[in-house]
Amino acid sequence: MLENIWFVAAIWMGLALIASIISIRVGISVALIEILIGVLAGNFLGIHKTTEWINFLAMLGSGVLTFLAGAEIDPTSLKSNIKASFTIGFLSFLLPFIFIWFFAQFVLGWSMQQSQIAGISLSTTSVAVVYAVMIEKGLGSTPLGKMILAACFITDFGTVIALGLLFADFNIWLLVFVVVMSVMLWYMPRWTRFIIVRMGATRVSEPEVKFILFILFFLGGLATTAKSEAVLPAYLVGLVVAGVFLRDKTLVNRMRSIAFAIFTPFYFIKAGLYVSLTDLWAAIVVILVFLVIKMVTKLIGVYPFARTFKMRHKEASYTSLLMATGLTFGTISALFGLNNKIIDQAQYTILVTVVILSAIIPTLIAQRFFQPSEAVMIAWGRLFNGNNKSASPADKKELETEEEKNNV
């Protein structure tokens, strides 16, 4: 019975349905619940293997998810405060990547490639998790909120570049991939706009969705031929069409609906399936050490520059902690390592567990102890873009009041 493709599909979709119902009830994203359901299925329900078609759907899930992550950035926010967001975002990637790589290689004795996978997985951040944390208090549209989101985007960009290039074969195919991708990226915004304008975004045959998927699949094919990773072109395609998507939300919403209904459940359940609870328990100390290193290196990379960029202790700590979150790209990087047999299941278990913990723990600490007010996050924009002298008396008073509260 379990060899029947329909029954296998029914079991996986049933698990995805259970995850959706639990997600609605408990108010936690369906992705995280799907991973946890996958963990339970792998450890207690005896579902240990995937099929070719499950792997294919999961692969599409990670590709479309990465595309959406790139497409959701607001190009205007990215350009404003570029100095602060680039510096913070870049260091938030670089320091954890190097420290974790070296720790895994020289302390834990992992191979260089395994250590690099660990470095990439744990240097990521999560734009969506950070957005959700800020939107709860209405902070997402403040200047400081936008700067933090842009910095998260830069960090993930570093992750995707590292994943796409570190394990690639430097041969003629890589050159072909880079050249073709560059040309297509250049033309993508006008092609996408052309398709939407000429064919309409409401046609039932969905030409614009098919066009985006065609480009993603084609560039994904070129990337994997060059032994690179398909998420690299997916993220970059998302980035270059972000401006088009910002004006036309229909397309992005439609792609998200397709991805969340059909592709991503297979990806996230599969991501959870390979987490072994036995390995997790055996490596609990290593998991905690990795988590601490991730958070401390993010703090070392982000905090001093946040202070330089006119944030006070509270906002700088808040920014550092939010940059220490992780989810999508952390699991994508770890699963890339497992699928390509760079890391084993025990190492995968460690990395995914740290990634999930990093989605939860830094955000809880940030919200509990360092939550800035909306007025302060707005005032930061005026201070940073002008200078202290040009700050209005109201801004200064707001900041002084907050400072007094901190001192108390």
């Binding site: 997600s23 609605i24 009830r25 108010g27 936690i28 994203s29 369906v30 992705a31 995280l32 998810l65 959406l68 992550a69 959701e72 999560s126 734009v127 969506a128 998790v129 957005y131 959700a132 939107i135 709860e136 992005v252 919403n253 998200r256 969340f260 991503t264 989810l327 999508t328 989605a359 939860i360 955000t363």
Partner: protein, 143 residues
């Protein structure tokens, strides 16, 4: 007699009966009436920003529908009915808001949208009646 009445309203058939009962009672005794909708919190730890923005847009659109409903009840019974929405755990939010705003009666349906979960986890109405500082009127759908 009661001076301030709080009624839970989520657009379900049960809550419509509760709102009808509360409106009739408020009109008869000249009490102030407020309706409350407890919206779900936005999902934590999402994978994409659009998950949050779409949830928020859907909640806003649902809220507009509820506001229209309440306005219709207000016109029908010729009384003013204030309406507000708060995110959080339904029972906790209703109990705390009733206490903070000095309501002396809470009117709820015994069955809202959450009947599936109510069976195993205990209905919101049960928990409100257990913890509220004031009287609670549970309205049955058959009424």
């Amino acid at each position: 007699m009661y001076k301030k009445i709080l009624v839970g309203y989520d657009g379900s058939e049960g809550s419509k009966i509760a709102l009808t009962t509360a409106a009739e009672l408020a009109k008869r005794i000249g009490a102030q009436l407020k309706a409350i909708w407890i919206k779900s919190k936005l999902p934590h730890y999402p994978e994409t920003i659009s998950e949050i923005s779409e949830e928020q847009a859907a909640a806003d659109s649902f809220l507009e529908g509820l506001k229209k409903d309440v306005l219709e009840y207000s016109l029908k019974y010729g009384i003013e009915i204030d309406f507000f929405a708060v995110a959080g755990n339904p029972a906790k939010v209703i109990v705390s808001n009733a206490k903070e705003q000095n309501f002396d009666l809470i009117v709820l349906s015994n069955q809202g949208h959450s009947s599936l979960w109510g069976t195993s986890l205990g209905h919101t109405a049960d928990r409100v009646s257990e913890h509220a500082h004031c009287s609670v009127l549970l309205v049955r759908e058959s009424e």
